[in-house]
Symmetry: C2
């Protein structure tokens, strides 16, 4: 019996992707080899890499003369480091918007490489909202933002063009909604939410922003070296990239981002409606900043927790507990989450309500 | 029809491991979840990580009070950077033995962080041997060596205790032979040869060598932070670690390192014997430094290449071409390579000989 997996990441992918990835581990497309044993220099793998790259360009509608698509390792946390290492000279200033734990971690790493100006922070209310009316100093090298904050269930709803390079950590909501991706000079995302399994990062970078710092950059941290080597500076995480490709193809077969966005909206609307209706629950994020990917809520009466956990178990609901920083519940309803599973969760919430009465 | 895969890495794993990994992608041990969707904080994954760590300690016979076992990302190339970042102060000196491309790459990265003294190099003969009679200056922080050089087919046969910390890149021969692992203060290996699929690095480190530099270390590069977080500083590459565990268990079920070493020796002896016997071929590495993992050889008469390629194809032999730096052929016969496949390769070599006659 498969579970309804609301885990925040690593998280659900479609059954079709699991099935194809599983087959690839036995044998990749009648090649006589497992995806785990093929050389990263083989024709088979180069075709996989090229197709994944082409799909990212297609989804983002970006000019492949100006941008480059990279598949790197180390998680988004590695990009927290690579970004200032590549883009910020000592003595220069970068601006960061502090919307939670991951944004704070990015800030912490960047501070080793230059001056960091925090344009705004929602730390005062445990990051339950997205700060909006901030000003960016004139002389900053870039503004770094985090589009979706898994822990707190907040999401930036509107992006505005800024007078500086816009860099965005889209780890937890990439390809969940249509966006003008050309607003950004650098977009990055750890794969383990909407892209694929843990173990690969997508980095999309406008090439002209590189080459403007004067510190020596270690090879493995140097975006230009990865561009020159076409994501093959060293052995890439072959299986994670292959499964990402399967997932990107699945997304395309669903009708692409605009179709998945409607479904995501429908799932989120249903769930938030129940949270607002059901007297036992309340949402933790400010309504205007609510995330379409991670729906956070609490039980008003904590003595009901045990009963609620039992109901989850009965319905095969898993991965629903909130992050330890926030507590309560977090339903991650990424692209691959079926509407049916959201309905089962709502049913569980209503079941608790009916017991209470 | 499965191929005989002599690829240098990513490379062959046992059929049993492919089968179990494939099943895990569909569903992990009746958990109702794919290995690709389980949270890295779940009990299931923590048990996987702990078991993998315990097996590494068991194989290495190391004291887990003194050493730590880490599973990190970025390939061995990331450790080329992490090692000097963590261990070498600006102004201090580290010694490196230059035995090939990967050793040279490690040297290149280390030069950004301190003074690098190259104790010896075999570059003069395109790295076809392992330099032996070198002296290590008194004041170095560590000596870095590469135990096996895939490209050139050379391998260090004897390790001697040195008057400094010994650091070894064992990417391409780890767990292929019994060793006194306690000679080393830091051992690291990209997984994609004897350990598992590409996408995870094993790092085994003596804890007392850390904390002696004064530069600020970015979190993701800081071994101490990874130790404190027990390889969960950020989302680890779950599938790659799981498959590594399956492979370590397979190795244990084979009888462990001493049993696999005998098989590796047998496979290598057979193949080298044929290279030395067959008048069409010659080995490229100096005999005393020949690798038990990567057997490099050339055809004396290059006009035979096309015919040899046809014979390979007929026998379903793949991944046998040498690295572009050396040319010729390279048969990588890692732990999981069956003796049968080595015999098929020898048969192919003899078939070419019989056609020639």
């Amino acid at each position: 019996m498969k579970k309804h997996n609301f885990s925040a990441g690593p998280s659900i992918l479609s059954e079709e992707v699991f099935k194809q990835a599983s087959e690839g581990v036995l044998e990749l497309n009648h090649s006589g080899l497992s995806i785990l044993e093929i050389s990263h220099r083989s024709d088979e793998f180069i075709a996989i890499l090229e197709e994944a790259k082409a799909l990212v360009f297609e989804f983002m509608q970006l000019d492949n003369e100006k941008y480059e698509v990279l598949f790197l390792q180390g998680g988004a946390s590695m990009e927290f480091l690579r970004i200032p290492y590549n883009l910020l000279n000592q003595g220069e200033t970068a601006a960061y918007l502090d919307t939670g734990k991951w944004a704070s971690n990015a800030i912490k790493e960047a501070k080793l490489f230059g001056n960091i100006h925090i344009v705004a922070s929602s730390k005062d209310q445990n990051y339950n909202y997205i700060p909006k009316n901030y000003t960016i100093p004139d002389d900053v090298k870039y503004l770094h933002i985090t589009s979706n904050n898994t822990i707190y269930g907040t999401q930036i709803q509107y992006f505005k063009k800024e007078n500086t390079s816009l860099i965005c950590d889209m780890s937890s909501d990439i390809f969940s909604r249509t966006l003008d991706f050309s607003m950004f000079d650098l977009i990055y995302a750890g794969a383990q939410k909407n892209l694929g399994p843990a173990g690969v990062n997508l980095v999309v970078i406008k090439k002209e922003i590189l080459g403007k710092t004067n510190r020596p950059i270690p090879s493995i941290l140097d975006y230009q070296k990865h561009i020159d080597a076409q994501s093959m500076f060293n052995t890439p995480p072959v299986f994670a990239i292959y499964t990402m490709l399967l997932n990107l193809k699945w997304l395309k077969n669903q009708g692409g981002i605009s179709v998945i966005e409607k479904r995501n909206q429908q799932k989120a609307d249903l769930l938030y409606r129940e949270i607002d209706r059901n007297p036992l629950f309340e949402g933790t994020a400010q309504k205007e900043d609510r995330s379409m990917m991670n729906v956070t809520f609490v039980l008003k009466d904590l003595t009901q927790q045990g009963k609620f956990a039992e109901i989850f178990k009965k319905h095969h609901i898993s991965g629903i507990n909130g992050h330890r920083i926030v507590g309560g519940y977090r339903a991650s309803i990424y692209n691959a989450m079926p509407l049916e599973s959201v309905k089962v969760l709502i049913q569980a919430m209503q079941e608790l309500e009916s017991i209470k009465k």
